[in-house]
């Protein structure tokens, strides 16, 4: 691969106007912060929605103060209707998966740090970069607009299964304009993600500075690169799927709607579509999306953990190999979401095998992280705690995958809270722990100030214990057959399980409240935190060889040359116990 001098591609001068500097900026660092800001707004919206849902599940008749102001129809007197519960659930899932778990670990931190970590001055296509953010922002506005249309947000879940999502208002409230906005928003989001993915791939392949071979790239950069490749293929399928859905809804086509359906006493004017086609297209995107959410966090933890363990990551080549293997296998497993969907039962066995196989690279990654902690001289700052917490919740979320990967067990557990527990642990909580670790770790570089470590530790402990109190009991509910996506539990066998739901609700409210500590810490430290040095954590990658925050061109006109891998900790015979990637010193022994 030809190595290009970074200055050759840095084509835009420092902006001078406020608009070009802070709003329509071409600077990858500003765009990274914009993505982070959007994810931050989105995560608090999503979290408040989950609070409302949890309160309703624990105490269905309890009026929630102010909820009727948000929707007088959806929550008359503050008590939400069943359809409004489903609306909040749909919006919670959609906002969290797309605007938080895709944006924060990948688009936000990737944008900010991928170019710096490879010694480039910017992304390969700065204008595409700006467009990808503002496209994503537009998608968010369109999605939020669904709260304010007359029939309310859609009720078909974040998976928008057809024909519920395709036939329009006859299927129920929220399925007219609300569902249109959902489909349009996701289509726009796909465009933004495709632009971003292309940019990440081109930047990684073309803009590495002298000496930054692929094997010397930090693990976070590897993870963002692999994630970009996954995104490119995944969103390229979801986009046409959304367009077909929009056509079914607005142009009278029948891609996803079978003949002879009767809704609201109307024989639907559609013929010949396939309900399962939507599921195949959606999950061809949907399962790789799980890895779009989690791989960046794996890379982030693999980068940060050695910094605080003061020793190299165990098995660096195996780590990269496993990330690539996961990315490759992620395209062969979508059918495990469809074991009971009515697809050919023989295919269940075929989809089960690669699904189980994917646990091998995932297990190796986990073992390598645990092995890295062995014999370390651990510095227990907030980023380290969140990395260790990540390993714990990744184990918890990963092992339940063994159950759901088997059709013979999925036949009992599918559609229950066991699934909710599994994907929240492995995809949401683990990914968010990676984001928290990244935030505490890179905040000094991004804003030039340190975050408060004591508040960070309080945040960690309350969150770590909280997420176990929320999601571990959901496994038990799933084993008892507690169906998910119910707005109330009226079945005879579900009523005895309501106390468990009350416990989960209390845990969710407390854990959510703990996030306010994080928010306060972010805002307070931005203005009042102690000034950060260039390399406060004694880390090796290139972002720590420049000022905090970095100048507009990242390295103040210097053309970085890389001499070391990213993993040079516990180095002997050096002034420090580590060797920076930009350091030309020869490492003798370890």
């Amino acid at each position: 691969m030809q190595e290009t001098a970074p200055q050759a591609v840095h084509q835009h001068a420092p902006p001078t106007s406020f608009i070009r500097k802070h709003v329509f900026s071409l600077d990858h660092k500003v765009i990274g912060k914009q993505y982070y800001g959007l994810a931050l707004v989105a995560v608090f919206v999503g979290m408040i929605l989950s609070w409302l849902m949890r309160i309703h599940l624990g105490w269905p008749n309890w009026p929630i103060p102010g909820l009727d102001k948000l929707s007088a129809v959806g929550a008359p007197g503050g008590v939400m209707t069943p359809e409004y519960y489903l609306s909040l659930m749909t919006m919670h899932g959609t906002i969290m998966v797309f605007f938080v778990l895709t944006n924060a670990p990948f688009a936000a931190f990737g944008n900010y740090f991928l170019p710096i970590q490879i010694g480039a001055e910017d992304m390969a296509f700065p204008r595409f970069n700006m467009m990808s953010f503002w496209t994503t922002f537009t998608a968010f506005l369109v999605m939020i607009a669904a709260f304010f249309v007359s029939d309310g947000p859609p009720i078909s879940g974040w998976t928008a299964y057809a024909p519920l999502s395709a036939v329009g208002k006859d299927a129920g409230p929220g399925l007219a304009m609300g569902q249109n906005l959902w489909a349009i928003s996701i289509a726009i989001f796909c465009i933004g993600s495709l632009l971003g993915a292309l940019n990440f791939i081109a930047t990684t392949l073309d803009l590495r500075t002298k000496g930054m071979s692929l094997s010397r790239m930090p693990y976070s950069t590897w993870a963002w690169f692999v994630t970009a490749v996954i995104s490119l293929l995944a969103f390229a399928v979801l986009l046409p799927a959304c367009i077909l859905l929009i056509l079914d809804r607005t142009a009278g086509t029948s891609f996803f709607i079978a003949s002879g359906l009767v809704l609201s006493d109307h024989l639907q004017p559609h013929t010949g579509g396939s309900t399962l086609l939507w599921q195949h297209l959606f999950w061809f995107f949907g399962h790789p999306e799980v890895y779009i959410a989690i791989l960046p966090s794996i890379g982030i933890v693999a980068t940060i953990l050695p910094v605080f363990a003061r020793k190299p990551l165990l098995g660096p080549r195996a780590t990269i190999g496993c990330m690539i293997a996961i990315g490759f296998l992620s395209y062969m497993v979508w059918g495990h979401h469809m074991f009971v969907s009515g697809m050919n039962p023989f295919s269940a066995n075929l989809f089960s095998i690669p699904t189980l196989f994917i646990t091998i690279p995932a297990t190796i990654l986990t073992l390598l992280l645990i092995g890295t902690v062995y014999g370390a001289k651990m510095r227990f700052a907030s980023p380290a705690l969140f990395c260790l917490g990540f390993v714990s919740v990744f184990i918890s979320g990963g092992v339940s995958g063994f159950f759901l990967a088997q059709p013979s067990l999925d036949v009992y557990l599918h559609g229950t809270y066991f699934v909710v527990a599994h994907f929240h642990f492995v995809m949401a909580v683990a990914s968010i722990f990676g984001v928290f670790a990244a935030t505490y770790f890179w905040f000094p570089k991004m804003f030039g100030r340190m975050m408060n470590d004591s508040l960070g530790k309080w945040h960690f402990w309350l969150t770590f214990i909280g997420v176990y109190c929320i999601f571990m009991p959901m496994h038990y509910l799933g084993l008892a057959g507690n169906v998910r996506r119910y707005s109330a539990f009226v079945d005879d066998y579900l009523i005895p399980l309501i106390p468990v739901h009350k416990f989960i609700t209390i845990a969710a409210l407390a854990t959510g409240a703990a996030q306010l500590i994080f928010l306060f810490n972010l805002i307070w430290s931005r203005f009042k935190g102690p000034v950060a040095s260039e390399n406060p954590w004694e880390a090796t990658s290139l972002e720590w060889s420049t000022t905090s925050p970095p100048p507009f061109d990242n390295f103040g006109g210097r053309h970085m040359v890389v001499y070391q891998g990213p993993n040079e900790y516990a180095v002997e015979g050096s002034m420090n116990d580590y060797a920076m990637q930009s350091s030309p010193e020869k490492i003798v022994t370890r």
Binding site: P82, L261, L276, P345, N349, M378, H414, Y476
Partner: protein
């Protein structure tokens, strides 16, 4: 701080496992011929995965505990043997676990979904709609009437879209709102949806199957115990999803024949 983390992971792990071991919340009784294989598979997986979970969490806790003891003069230690034994161990152990689960589990799956239904099965049509299940039995003629979606009319009780005026086979079809089946008799359901996706889930039968609009989905099982059980919908189908349910009544063969006669006479 490291010791606190290790202790927290230890307590969380033990408490989590305890509820699984004590079966505080667990699967209900199994009443189907295919259920024991599934329950066996569940137990096997629970043990294998439980060991992985315990080992992963406790080793993490132990290593973190150890790493917090490091005094400033202490040398960093690299994992014995490096990454290779971990990678090899993961491939062999998890690989074996996967092969075992796949070989055993595919039999349990095949018994429900791949094996053809028995010749002498009691056939029952099921129609799912927002937000109810309806069940149709062939009357004394042993034949089902044809379905005509344009004739579906909930108001007059024509949930399946039968055309008794022109279709003799449809005239004696029995349509009811709960599923009554004879014990120890193979049952062959044919699932239809009137409108959107639904699902048929009976915990005690260990079966779950989606209704797919536009397709007829077969499902077969044999109940081994009499009793009354809940059928619930597990596929999001709209605002009344939470309340979409019916009852399954498993009765003796004689009671079933008597029940069917009574229904046909009405």
């Amino acid at each position: 701080m490291g010791k606190l983390f290790a202790a927290a992971v230890f307590v969380i792990t033990i408490v989590s496992v305890a509820f699984f071991v004590m079966h505080t919340w667990w699967l209900p009784i199994d009443i189907s011929t295919t259920g024991p294989a599934i329950d066996h598979q569940m137990d096997e997986t629970m043990i294998g995965v439980g060991i992985l979970f315990l080992a992963g969490q406790l080793v993490l806790a132990a290593f973190v505990w150890g790493s917090s003891n490091a005094s400033s003069g202490k040398k960093i230690k690299i994992f014995p043997g490096g990454a290779t034994p971990l990678v090899a161990g993961a491939i062999i152990l998890v690989g074996l676990e996967i092969l075992t689960l796949t070989l055993v589990g595919s039999k349990a799956w095949g018994a429900i979904y791949i094996a053809p239904p028995a010749e002498n099965s009691q056939q029952i049509d099921v129609q799912a709609e927002q937000f109810a299940f309806y069940f149709r039995y062939p009357g004394p003629d042993g034949q089902f009437g044809a379905l005509h979606p344009d004739k579906i009319d909930d108001g007059s009780g024509n949930y399946f879209g039968l055309d008794p005026a022109n279709d003799i086979a449809a005239r004696d079809d029995v349509v009811v709102g709960s599923l009554t089946i004879p014990v120890n008799t193979p049952i062959w359901l044919k699932l239809h949806s009137k409108d959107v996706g639904h699902s048929f889930y009976v915990r005690e039968l260990r079966v779950q199957q989606d209704f797919v609009p536009g397709l007829e989905i077969p499902l077969h099982f044999t109940a081994t115990q009499t009793g009354k059980f809940e059928i619930v919908c597990t596929q999001l189908c709209g605002l009344g999803h939470y309340n979409m349910k019916a009852y399954l009544e498993v009765v003796s063969q004689d009671d079933f024949q008597q029940w069917l006669k009574t229904q046909a006479g009405q």
